[in-house]
């Protein structure tokens, strides 16, 4: 019994660490889908793009992946703002975002993925950093540094974004745009401009999430798809647009997935995320800390 309890404890700790990483992966969706009502299913593709950016810089200059991601933040911000410009001009202004907007992002997902395949091939790529090898041991608990570093930076990112959204004018305007567009316009702030900034931020987080992903595991272009279910499961489960809820949901999913993988084998873990998502959607669409 003691062995399996140790195993359970190990799985829970690994799950919490994994959850921290999932939070970083989902925070972009929490902003774009939860706050802006933009169903960006191409978000995982941007994350993979972030992974490859970290890979290129790391393999040619030996720069740390997390540092690379921080340098890349403005680039991804501009990329996101540009994507939103197109989305706004073509779909939102026409009031056509529901069906065709969805198809637009679906197409974008494929373009990014196939372009990466054509350029880099389907080989797994990885990065090198000092913290990728070693593991801290505390009795039965293993803390691999390659999980711990993304976890820590992810928590910092979460806290920073929460502060930004609640303390600054632009941040509050982003929160407001999801609640009452008209009121925001009456405050003489342009919803389109606010949404452009917010979408830029959401894509910028993909640079960091991508770097975390390639620190944790080797990356090839099509693994982004596995994350579509996870990010939406976490965002919906956490209650759209609520950061604490999202963090809780991410950790919950991480723990459940980790326990499933430990006791039933890793081939079942994709079903967990999507099963959780289906159950949430069917029985509690407002999530565990939802507003509605």
């Amino acid at each position: 019994m003691g062995v399996s309890l140790d195993l359970l404890l190990g799985a829970v700790v690994a799950g919490v660490l994994l959850g921290g990483f999932y939070a970083a992966v989902s925070v972009g969706i929490a902003i774009s889908f939860g706050m802006l009502d933009i169903v960006n299913i191409a978000h995982p593709a941007f994350i993979i793009l972030g992974s490859y950016a970290a890979y290129i810089v790391n393999s040619s200059f030996g720069l740390d992946p997390v540092v690379t991601a921080i340098v890349m933040l403005p680039v991804f911000f501009v990329l996101g703002a540009a994507v939103y410009e197109i989305y706004y001009a073509v779909f939102e202004r026409r009031g056509d975002e529901a069906l065709r907007g969805l198809a637009f992002f679906f197409g974008l997902l494929f373009i990014v993925e196939v372009a990466l395949i054509l350029v880099f091939g389907v080989d797994y790529r990885f990065v090198e950093a000092r913290y990728i090898g070693p593991t801290l041991h505390y009795g039965p608990i293993d803390l691999p540094l390659r999980m711990l570093v993304p976890f820590a930076v992810s928590i910092l990112l979460m806290a920073g974004l929460q502060l930004y959204l609640s303390r600054t004018f632009t941040g509050r305007a982003i929160m407001a745009v999801s609640q009452d567009r008209l009121a925001l316009q009456l405050m003489s702030a342009s919803p389109a401009k606010i949404k452009r900034i917010a979408f830029g931020i959401s894509i910028a987080t993909a640079a960091l999430a991508g770097a975390f992903l390639i620190i944790i595991q080797p990356v090839e272009p099509s693994i982004g798809r596995d994350y579509i279910g996870r990010v939406f499961a976490i965002t919906v489960l956490g209650g759209l647009g609520s950061f604490p809820g999202m963090l809780a949901a991410a950790v919950l999913l991480g723990v459940v997935e980790s326990i499933t993988a430990t006791f039933y084998g890793p081939s079942w873990s994709p079903a967990v995320a999507f099963g959780v998502l289906l159950l949430t959607l069917a029985f509690r669409p407002s999530g565990i800390m939802g507003r509605r």
Binding site: F33, V90, G229, F232, F274, G275, L277, L281
Partner: protein, 335 residues
């Protein structure tokens, strides 16, 4: 054209097409044609739910693969003729489609789409862990080399898929002109208003999801015999989902013509690209065309064609007006 006439015409066109195809001496023609026909069924099936009622289904691959895997499972149990397998595959996917229809009770818009994507992954995980149908290693199917009357087995598969295409298009067309079709359109335009006006929205949505799912399953059922080796990664390939969305969007979603044109166009382009360039490029072409059409021509090829017709008519009218009324205007105002 009345529905009965249309069915007759569709069958005649299908038969004529098959007759012409038999004249092609090339074996590869049937290989490629099968895939294009399969996409006609998938795109038409998707459009019954997506185009007519406005619910975007990302889970085409799930229904398609479910049909294919019901064939694999039955192949291991008892030998059945292909048409029966097609019926069973359609039945299995239809039941899952019926279940998906109940999701629409709570989920509208993007939530429904995400749920269908989730459904696909859950199904794939279940199949991957089901050892009886081969699990992640996949399953082999031995197909007879020859069939009586037709010769090569691939011609038989081609014929089955052609019949399914005619069936799918006939059903889609019949729906468009029926009470069912008007109900679907009401749901697409404003579900709450339709509900308030007494349209039985749930029953209609269940009809759409069941029919759409069943057709996708029927399209998938012959797949194991076509590929002879099936593993979950290829059966649940996301390419099926992208294509079945891209084809109606590129063709035009409001009528049965759109998915047909889209499937013929995209399917053929992809077959050509596979032969001449590379198969990796296929999805890039689909993705680029999908985004380009959604951005530039939101009503697809059919929409472009209609706009073109309208502009010709307008130009004709203007010319006519100039000849008849232009003089009159000049005479009345001497300046």
């Amino acid at each position: 054209m009345r529905p009965a006439t249309f069915w007759l015409a569709a069958v005649v066109v299908g038969a004529a097409f098959f007759g012409l195809s038999l004249q092609v001496p090339n074996q590869y023609y049937f290989q490629a044609g099968y895939v294009v026909l399969q996409y006609i069924v998938l795109a038409t099936a998707w459009n019954i739910l997506g185009g007519y009622t406005g619910y975007v289904n990302f889970g085409t691959a799930a229904f398609f693969a479910l049909g294919a895997y019901s064939t694999v499972a039955l192949y291991k149990l008892l030998p059945l003729p292909l048409p029966v397998l097609v019926m069973i595959g359609g039945g299995v996917s239809g039941v899952v489609g019926f279940g998906m229809g109940y999701l629409t009770l709570r989920l509208r818009g993007a939530f429904f789409s995400i749920a269908t994507l989730a459904l696909a992954v859950v199904m794939q995980t279940l199949i991957t862990n089901w050892e009886f149908v081969g699990g992640s290693r996949g399953a082999y199917i031995l197909r007879p080399a020859q069939v009586p009357l037709l010769g090569n087995y691939i011609i038989y598969l081609f014929l089955v898929m052609l019949v399914l295409s005619v069936l799918a298009i006939g059903i889609a067309r019949s729906i468009e002109r029926s009470r069912l079709g008007f109900g679907f359109a009401a749901i697409r335009d404003d579900e709450q208003a339709a509900e308030a006006a007494g349209v039985p929205t749930l029953r209609l949505k269940l009809a759409a999801t069941t029919l759409s799912g069943a057709l996708m399953g029927m399209a998938g059922a012959p797949l194991p015999y076509y590929v002879t080796y099936l593993d979950p990664a290829s059966g649940f390939n996301l390419a099926y989902a992208v294509n079945s969305i891209a084809m109606p969007l590129i063709g035009g979603m409001t009528s049965w013509v759109g998915p047909l044109i889209g499937a013929l166009f995209l399917g053929t382009v992809q077959q050509l690209a596979t032969v001449t360039i590379s198969s990796a490029l296929n999805l890039l072409i689909v993705g680029l065309l999908l985004v380009a059409f959604v951005v530039i021509a939101p009503n697809g090829i059919v929409g472009l064609f209609n706009a073109f017709l309208a502009s010709i008519r307008e130009r004709g009218l203007r010319k006519h007006w100039k000849r008849a009324g232009g003089d009159a205007v000049r005479r009345e105002s001497p300046r």
